[in-house]
């Protein structure tokens, strides 16, 4: 860094991805847009990502936060795999999730390390506020 710019608040970088096989990414896009409007830099990785691809992208992009969207029902297989890969890489990037996730599964996923889970009807404001505090606490 040859230019020592004045220190200012740096933007939160967040990866938004959809693991596994589902074709509906409207929700992920709406959340990406809301985080953008909250001043974050959102790396949109899109549909049909494997856990390996998601973790790889998170590390290359050096994100502060990972947001996963899932509607397929495969969350109990895919989310723990992503958490395990992150652990394997010795990183504690916080992960939040949204989609169709039954309460009982959500409890278990929270226990496994997913930091926040948003179901249908969650306000964008709540998602933005939670995302911001997760990223700031991790920093």
């Amino acid at each position: 860094m040859a230019k020592a710019r004045a220190p200012k608040e740096t933007p939160i970088r967040v990866l938004i991805a959809k693991p596994g096989l589902d074709g509906h990414d409207r929700g992920a896009k709406v959340v990406a847009r809301a985080l953008r409007d909250a001043g974050m830099e959102v790396i949109y990785a899109g549909l049909r990502q494997t856990p390996e691809e998601i973790v790889r992208a998170a590390l290359e992009e050096d994100v502060d936060l990972i947001g996963l969207s899932i509607l397929s029902g495969a969350h109990m297989a895919l989310f723990p795999r992503i958490l395990a890969l992150l652990k394997e890489h010795r990183t504690s990037i916080p992960v939040f999730a949204g989609g169709i996730i039954p309460d009982e599964d959500a409890r278990r996923l929270r226990k496994a390390g997913i930091r926040a889970i948003f179901g249908p009807g969650t306000s964008l404001e709540e998602i933005v506020t939670t995302a911001r505090s997760l990223a700031r606490r991790a920093a």
Binding site: M1, P11, D37, L59, E60
Partner: protein, 323 residues
Amino acid sequence: MKGASRLPAAARAIVAGDRRALARTITAVENGDPSADPIVRSLYARSGRAPVVGLTGPLGVGKSSLVNALVGRLRSLGLTVGIIGVDPSSPFTGGSVLGDRIRLERRADDTGVFFRSMASRGAAGGVAEATREVSRLLDAAGFDVILVETVGSGQVDVAIRDIASTSIVVVVPHLGDEVQTLKAGLFEIADIFCVNKVDLPGADIAKRDLAELVLLGGRADGWAPPIVGTSTLNAQGIEELWNDVLAHEKFLDESGERVRGERKRLAGEVVGLARDRVGRELNRRLERDPSLRRLLDDVLARRIDPRTAADQLATGGRRTRGR
């Protein structure tokens, strides 16, 4: 590697292929974090080896898909690739959605590809302020080829020229009539013209208009930009596109243009960095020196004019008064 032991630890890690160290240093460079300073300084000597290929052009012409197709081609040749994809930051919130990654197809375990998305963070010209230094980091990290995808650019987004050794301007059929090709700006910086989505009707007209532009000549270095038709649906023209990049890189070496161009660009960079530094120093003086603060009061009260005040600030006092 020679001299590697004298590098800072993070720089050593980057050279040794540690992608996490690379990713973190890129963040530090983007954020203007002083921790990146010794790393950037020490790795400069290891850059300047890989061709830096810029892809620019209006939004929606298929730059990200072309990057993906080029990555496929380069990997099949056994070459490693570092990619920077730049997308715009909001002028209102500073936020951005970085979507260039979405087209990238590669095996998740392929360490020969590194993709980094970058927000423009208010910089004009189609790239971010940090893009040049980050492309050097990728170079020092050992990638054989660096690809830089600019913001979907308008007619004057030509800053990629200061970073890339070969600039590809990407267009599609029906972007406009031949008068568009006469305009100054984007079309002037092309080392290669790529007509993407060449399977669409109108591609021949687009190629013909560009051919006429190239025929008119006028480039001081004597290079005539080739025109390549590509389609990423079936990887049509991708091999030709890469061969044209190699031909241009060879031309740069054989004509001496690489050295001439680099010298000019580095002069611009060094002067720019020095100007920033002097600017910061002058701001500091204005804040700290009470007599200089009074200078502003004088300008405000119309007792002296801004140009005279600038003379005095630059010379560090009020000695030039009444010159």
